[in-house]
Symmetry: C2
Subunit: 209 residues, 2 copies
């Protein structure tokens, strides 16, 4: 299939990047409405839709969330991640937690509703919606990034957005206008991530992609 015949979704998916620095330009409620509507169209176990999106625009709360993430990063995750990440990605993540994420004009705290779904099935019903959030932002020319570091301990982040015990913060997605143009994403080739029928049997379609 020639690339010009491909539906637009594939180029949207292929150009999705993790944005961790943002301009001061605001994001309109209309755009957020579109993005959230897309998120709620994701599938969920038993169609229970166990999500709740807290759109954090308040400056003090955004700063508190950014501070929380920076604290976990600097206190623990930074030195764990340093040898595991390639240097360019490490620098980008480090700059993000060091201030870039705090510049986002809004952050969406994505909560999983334990009254609607058991904790064991919550992630499979929440992260498809989060991917729609990211793709929706990207489709509008906005940048976003999936972060889960604040959910390491759901207590403090839950307190910032006044989440009841039944709503478990599972991701924070800062959204804004990208401050930097990012190049293509780095991914292992599909052929090394796919098999035919049994693991280890080469998948023949990889060469044609």
């Amino acid at each position: 299939m020639a690339s010009h015949d491909q539906p637009a979704f594939f180029s949207l998916a292929r150009t999705l990047r993790a944005h961790r620095s943002f301009t001061a330009e605001p994001v309109s409620d209309d755009h957020v409405a579109l993005i959230l509507d897309a998120a709620t169209r994701a599938p969920s176990a038993e169609n229970r839709q166990p999500w709740h999106f807290v759109v954090v625009r308040d400056e003090r709360r955004r700063a508190a969330i950014a501070g929380l993430m920076a604290g976990i990063w600097e206190g623990m995750a930074r030195e764990w991640s340093r040898p595991r990440l390639d240097p360019a990605l490490f620098d980008d993540v480090d700059r993000g937690f060091g201030g870039g994420l705090a510049d986002a004009p809004l952050m969406v705290v994505v909560c999983g509703d334990t009254d609607l779904a058991d904790r064991g099935v919550l992630a499979s019903s929440i992260f498809p919606a989060v991917q729609n959030l990211l793709l929706g932002a990207h489709a509008l020319g906005l940048g976003a990034v999936l972060t889960t570091i604040a959910s390491t301990d759901p207590g403090p982040i839950g307190e910032i957005v006044a989440a009841p015990d039944s709503l478990r913060p599972m991701a924070v997605v800062p959204i804004g206008h990208p401050a930097r143009v990012l190049g293509p994403s780095r991914r292992v080739a599909v052929g090394d991530k796919a098999s035919l029928d049994t693991v280890g049997t080469p998948w023949p379609g990889a060469a044609s992609s």
Copy 2:
């Protein structure tokens, strides 16, 4: 924002449905290649890409997977789900496990690689990719459905696709040409699933969507 100004992604996301019945028409490797490429463009913690996709085309293995899902459904999940699902959804799911899913010309068994990511962060790095699988299939006019029932016990499904212990089956996505045209999805309104700054504060953008 008028609907004709919206990027195509939003109508794609909005019309995504769970397809559980398929025609006999095959799905080409080129299409699977596009779909898998989109899946691998999803974000993952530390960009570790802890996914492996087993494209199951072999008829006996597909029948074994369908039989496994039917067994779990009939043995346990069916009576648990019956009072929890609306009747139309229950009937569709029941028909799917009763034979509809077995008709799909291929099933993608999505595995999480525990050598690349801790089990605790695996789901947030796998289900965004699964959502891209579903959207990619939909973009090509194919139907698909996210199922996790076979992962209740990763042993038997892992055995069918010869997955080593490090590859944990987390989802099975049957893909094929839809046998039925499905109407709009049923979702709770965004306004009931979103808050501004703190849980319970109405999000003002809901009315404008």
